[in-house]
């Protein structure tokens, strides 16, 4: 479920970064208030545990495929939501830097999909509500499975939405949904079963460990967080529509022809900056000025108008290919020179 940088537009990436950074800030502040010294090392090793656990695959019987634990819900049960969220986020960060799972721009999305949804959304709003103070075996099974499934489905849904909002990938939304959701239904089932098995194992082996996570958090904080999340989702939704329409540039060029700007310009801050950057993509693509959009352009395929450049121009295509080849040579040459230069600069080993 790790997303990749290449599938994201900067607007979506930056929005999700902002959402995840907000989550990290809030959870950090909450942990500071709790002043439990023991928690920090514990979170550290549990992060390590999660990392190790994600590397061990299990085989899914009957299918010949395999999967691994994502662990957001498990950690939330053991540690409480804030600590679990920070732990998952830190694991994702290490994975982004060392294995490039996802990537730096996609880190915000991944933290949201894999960390925020299970730990801050599903655990407090679904799992803890439903499980009650002293759950029976059947209830525990049902609630854990349901929560794991819900977390997985929501995560997969967010992956689809973020990809669609970025508009880089041409997969139609419906087909992508049909591909993603059933697969993650299966993975969610296994995730729920593993979570359940580990929790019941711990309950038998060290029942005192499970007390910590069930300490109730302050209700107001939770409300604030929920409100924040809803706002963030709304902003993400609004911005992503903005992002998915904008790179096409179709409406932009139509608006330019009509002589009126139909887009609201009063957005401030980073999104506006990135939006402006993207708008530049649409109508000032390269060194060439965009050709005057004739009324006929509007009926042409979206792609033809998208970059605002003469798409069938032979010259531009050939120039692009030749330029690419020369650039590759130049880059390789620069690398060779740099390497030789630096080797010469190294003092001989003593």
């Amino acid at each position: 479920m790790h997303m990749a940088d290449a599938l994201l537009s900067p607007t979506v990436g930056a929005t999700m970064w902002a959402v995840s950074a907000g989550g990290v800030a809030i959870c950090s502040a909450r942990l500071c208030r709790r002043r439990d010294d023991r928690l920090a090392p514990l979170m550290g090793v549990l992060g390590g545990f999660l990392f190790a656990a994600q590397m061990i695959n299990f085989s899914i019987p009957g299918t010949g495929s395999s999967g691994h634990l994502t662990g957001g819900l498990l950690l939330a049960i053991l540690l409480g939501p804030s600590a679990a969220f920070l732990t998952v986020a830190s694991v994702l960060m290490v994975q982004a830097f060392f294995f490039a799972d996802g990537g730096l721009l996609a880190l915000g999305c991944n933290i949201f999909n894999l960390g925020m949804i299970p730990a801050l959304l599903v655990y407090p709003l679904c799992y803890r509500r439903l499980i009650g103070p002293a759950p029976g075996r059947r209830r525990e099974v049902a609630v854990t499975m349901f929560s794991a499934l819900l977390a997985m489905q929501l995560g997969a849904l967010c992956v689809v939405l973020e990809t669609a909002a970025s508009g880089v990938c041409a997969l139609p939304l419906g087909k992508f949904l049909l591909l993603m959701q059933p697969i993650h239904l299966a993975i969610g089932l296994v995730e729920g079963a593993v979570t359940l098995a580990v929790v019941s194992f711990l309950r038998k082996a060290r029942p005192e460990l499970l007390v910590r996570g069930s300490a109730p958090a302050g209700a107001p904080g939770r409300l604030v967080l929920a409100g924040f999340l809803v706002c963030a989702l709304l902003v993400a939704g609004a911005l992503s529509r903005f992002a998915s329409v904008q790179p096409d540039g179709l409406e932009w060029s139509v608006a330019k022809v009509a002589g009126g700007a139909s887009l609201p310009q009063q957005r401030g801050g980073l999104p506006a900056l990135l939006g402006a950057l993207q708008r530049k993509t649409a109508w000032f693509p390269d060194y060439q000025p965009a050709p005057a959009a004739a009324p006929g352009t509007a009926t042409a395929p979206v792609m033809a108008a998208s970059e605002g450049r003469p798409v069938s121009g032979k010259g531009s295509g050939v120039a692009g290919v030749v330029g690419t080849a020369v650039t590759v040579l130049l880059v390789a040459g620069a690398a060779l020179l740099l390497r030789r230069g630096s080797r010469a600069a190294v003092p001989p080993e003593v």
């Binding site: 290449a6 599938l7 979170m43 294995f99 020369v326």
Partner: protein, 270 residues
């Protein structure tokens, strides 16, 4: 990820590269982190059909790898390992998007293929930039840089703790996984029951270890914060580095370097 041990060795190798001693290694991590971010934002902000404009961006990772004397082949393998995901998602494009976009002589290239190639190139660019950053800087330094750029302390603490215990725990997990592999024949024994109890035991051991570590840290005077290492300086070299790469990336973002060069050459020929 092939095996736990392989992954662990990989992790160590990438971090050992950060121990190098080139001018790039000695730069303040903040400059490198910021330059990489500018680079990534510039790369992904291109429209989906822009391909030739992306190629000049390879100058950034290639120069850093060369000047930092990093093993290029090893990094390329790591990039290739990540590629399948992007390919899996992007391979749909040629089937859904069949509009002809480019004509190279008699050959027509559809928009789907162009956007597919663009996705793959972008993946290669962003992934290699992230790996190069790690290999040049090291994870601990990146964390410190992020704290100084405004990341909350508890999260940084969590990252540093995680990084410290990662090797210990991953080794333990690897040992358990290998033991399970050796004791089960074919598919038998690799099923769900043994997996759950394996994870449970791993968790228990982890927890006990955490308690022991915490006692030991308290005994040595741990007060809730790591003492800060020597603070780096954001000097003239850092400013020059950051300005140079940001300017280059932003220029390449707005002017298609490859196409400019191409018209220059084709114009010269005709």
């Amino acid at each position: 990820m092939a095996s736990v041990h392989g992954a662990l060795l990989d992790l160590k190798r990438l971090d050992q590269l950060a121990g190098g001693d080139t001018p790039l290694h000695r730069l303040d991590p903040r400059a490198k982190v910021l330059a990489t971010l500018v680079f990534i934002v510039c790369v992904v902000s291109f429209g989906r059909y822009e391909l030739s404009a992306l190629i000049p961006f390879f100058i950034f990772p290639v120069c850093l790898i060369a000047a930092g004397r990093l093993p290029a082949g090893y990094l390329a393998t790591k990039v290739a390992l990540v590629a399948p995901f992007a390919i899996a998602v992007g391979i749909g494009n040629p089937f859904f998007d069949r509009t002809l976009l480019l004509h190279l002589g008699p050959l027509g290239i559809s928009g789907g293929w162009v956007s597919f190639a663009s996705i793959v190139v972008r993946t290669a660019l962003t992934v290699s930039a992230a790996l190069t950053l790690t290999a040049l800087t090291g994870f601990t330094s990146i964390c410190r840089a992020l704290v100084r750029l405004g990341m909350p302390k508890p999260f940084a603490m969590q990252l540093l703790f995680l990084y410290r215990y990662l090797f210990v725990l991953a080794e333990e997990g690897g040992r358990a996984a290998r033991a399970r592999e050796l004791r089960c024949f074919g598919r038998k024994g690799s099923g769900f029951a043994s997996y759950a109890s394996l994870l449970g035991h791993l968790l228990l051991r982890t927890w006990q270890r955490a308690e022991r570590m915490h006692m030991a840290m308290l005994a040595r005077g741990y007060t809730g914060a790591f003492p800060a290492a020597q603070a780096g300086r954001f000097g003239a070299r850092e400013v020059v580095f950051l300005l140079f790469w940001s300017t280059l990336c932003i220029t390449l973002r707005f002017y298609n370097g490859a196409e400019l060069l191409g018209t220059l050459i084709t114009g010269h020929l005709s």
